[in-house]
């Protein structure tokens, strides 16, 4: 049973960066970015190809983040320069990425067995499971720290304000377009990293692994948002921590469902219903209160 929790924890840590990325686009910028599905697989595809060419997992990490950043920049450019709705811009780039990912992978599935694994790159614990977990915590911890720092800098204040009141930031000398481009680049770099981490966790890269993944990130952020409102959190570091907690709770619920013997074919349907529930519950609560 503890194995079961640990697996959910490991997976939720791997998905943590993506949830942080969705937090940036959805909560900081107020932009619905669904490039996610594509940039997630992109990260895994770039990583698989480089690993096959005997790159070390540590060297692969920045490259797949860069690839994700480029995908995010594409969406941001389509959105800001061509004035196309952010949702549509994301769908266009995501769709295009499917072909690009297929070209990078060369086929629809690449197993990563017998290749070096990021989670074994260093040995801190004898127990392999704990060691993997520790490295995942380390990566996510460093990223959370960096994101927290970024959002507290002068540039970070401009980022948060641009999403909150673009009219104000324009009058305060902020180029909102540039801020959006940088923000989407960071968000999708984080998403691509998650794709890489999950491919490392599961031992293969699949062209379809990203389908619907944006819902997982969205669910995590929505859970985080409920927790934030409930505990009245304004501190940025704690907000990021809540996003990671949200990611964990989300994976726990999914793991539980599978453990109860729900047919895996229903998993996506169940995920969608679960997110619907998270969104609908607070509203239902309010309606009941009024009645």
């Amino acid at each position: 049973m503890s194995q079961f929790y640990l697996a959910a924890l490991q997976l939720s840590l791997c998905l943590g960066p993506m949830a942080m990325g969705i937090y940036i686009t959805m909560k900081v910028f107020n932009i619905p970015d669904i490039t996610t599905d594509g940039s997630y697989t992109l990260g895994a595809a770039v990583a698989a190809t480089l690993l096959m060419h005997h790159w070390s997992p540590l060297a692969v990490l920045p490259v797949c983040m860069l690839a994700g950043a480029i995908a995010g920049i594409c969406t941001a450019l389509v959105h800001t320069k061509l004035k196309i709705d952010a949702l549509l811009a994301g769908i266009l780039v995501m769709t295009g990425l499917y072909s690009i990912n297929l070209i990078i992978l060369g086929r629809s599935n690449i197993p990563l067995i017998n290749l070096p694994v990021l989670f074994n790159a260093f040995t801190f614990f004898e127990n392999e499971l704990y060691n993997q977990l520790f490295i995942a915590v380390l990566i996510v911890g460093i990223l959370s720290f960096l994101l927290r720092y970024l959002l507290r800098t002068d540039f970070g204040i401009a980022m948060r304000a641009a999403g909150n009141n673009p009219m104000m930031t324009r009058s305060l000398g902020v180029n909102n377009d540039v801020i959006k481009i940088i923000g989407l680049a960071i968000a999708n770099a984080l998403t691509a990293l998650s794709g890489f981490l999950v491919s490392q966790y599961q031992g293969f890269t699949d062209i379809n692994m990203g389908i619907g993944i944006v819902i997982t990130g969205l669910g995590s952020v929505l859970i985080a948002d409920s927790l934030r409102a409930w505990m009245n959190i304004t501190n940025i570091g704690l907000q990021i921590a809540m996003v990671l907690v949200g990611s964990f709770l989300f994976q726990m619920v999914l793991a539980f469902t599978l453990a109860m013997g729900v047919d895996p074919n229903f998993l996506k349907l169940f995920t969608a219903l679960f997110v619907l529930l998270i969104v609908a519950l607070p509203r239902a609560g309010r309606i009941l209160k009024r009645a």
Partner: protein, 249 residues
């Protein structure tokens, strides 16, 4: 300092609903002037301010600041000289950010927003002392979200924020329209102080004839996109409230 030459603004050009909001306006405003702009609804006051601030581009004509042609310079780059306060108190501040963060961003209006943490102890003290000067009791709330404050409090802070960085020109578009009389007084007195003590050029749009009579030196009336009256400071001192009311007959 500000010079507008033959400014026209046509909305929906060539369409059925074509509308000429400004018609060939030329206007020079000197450094340190406090200009009050009045006129009926739809006479083009906001459009004129938007063209100076850069939120709108003129259909024809040119805008100069200190002799430099800035007609094509985008709004976010004009913030080098210009600060704005909008009619809606919600427009000038970011509600989910703290008061301190709002002030930090305003303090960087003309500068780069870099990757360092600038809202440090020294900055905090500076903000607290400035806010205390308002006498609204907000100085111990700088870590609260801006969204928790009333419209009057937010507008007063917005105005204070506008001089956190070097400001040559302050554009105020009916800043007190949504405020209670007491906050309105605080805001207009503050603008007056900035003009007198810091030499900031102020352009104030107001619907209140009383405020128009009381605040500012030069008084300009717009009518259907044209300057109907342009009254200098000395002549304005002779004007009574009744005289100004008469213009709007």
């Amino acid at each position: 300092m500000i010079s507008l030459e033959n400014i026209s603004k046509i909305f929906h050009k060539g369409k059925e609903n074509e509308l000429s909001a400004l018609k060939n306006i030329s206007l020079k405003i000197d450094k340190g002037e406090f200009v009050t702009l009045v006129g009926a609804n739809g006479s083009g006051k906001t459009t004129l301010l938007n063209i100076i601030g850069g939120a709108e581009k003129p259909s024809s004509g040119s805008v100069r600041i200190n002799g430099e042609d800035i007609t094509r310079i985008p709004e976010h780059k004009r913030s080098k000289w210009i600060a704005r306060v909008f009619q809606n108190p919600n427009n000038g501040t970011a509600p989910d950010l703290t008061i301190l963060d709002n002030f930090r961003l305003a303090a960087l209006r003309t500068r780069r927003k870099s990757l360092k943490i600038g809202a440090d102890k020294v900055f905090k003290r500076e903000v607290i002392s400035r806010i205390a000067g308002l006498g609204m009791g907000l100085e111990n709330k700088i870590n609260q979200s801006m969204g928790n404050l009333s419209g009057g409090q937010r507008q007063a802070l917005t105005l204070l924020m506008s001089v956190m960085d070097n400001t040559d020109i302050l554009l105020l578009d009916e800043p007190t329209a949504a405020l209670d009389p007491k906050s309105a007084r605080v805001v207009l007195n503050l603008a007056d102080t900035f003009n007198k003590e810091m030499g900031i050029t102020v352009i104030l749009i107001t619907h209140s004839l009383k405020d128009a009579q009381q605040y500012g030196g030069r008084l300009i009336q717009l009518q259907e996109g044209k300057i109907a009256r342009d009254i200098n400071t000395e002549s304005k001192l002779q004007l009574s409230l009744a005289d100004i009311s008469e213009w709007f007959g």
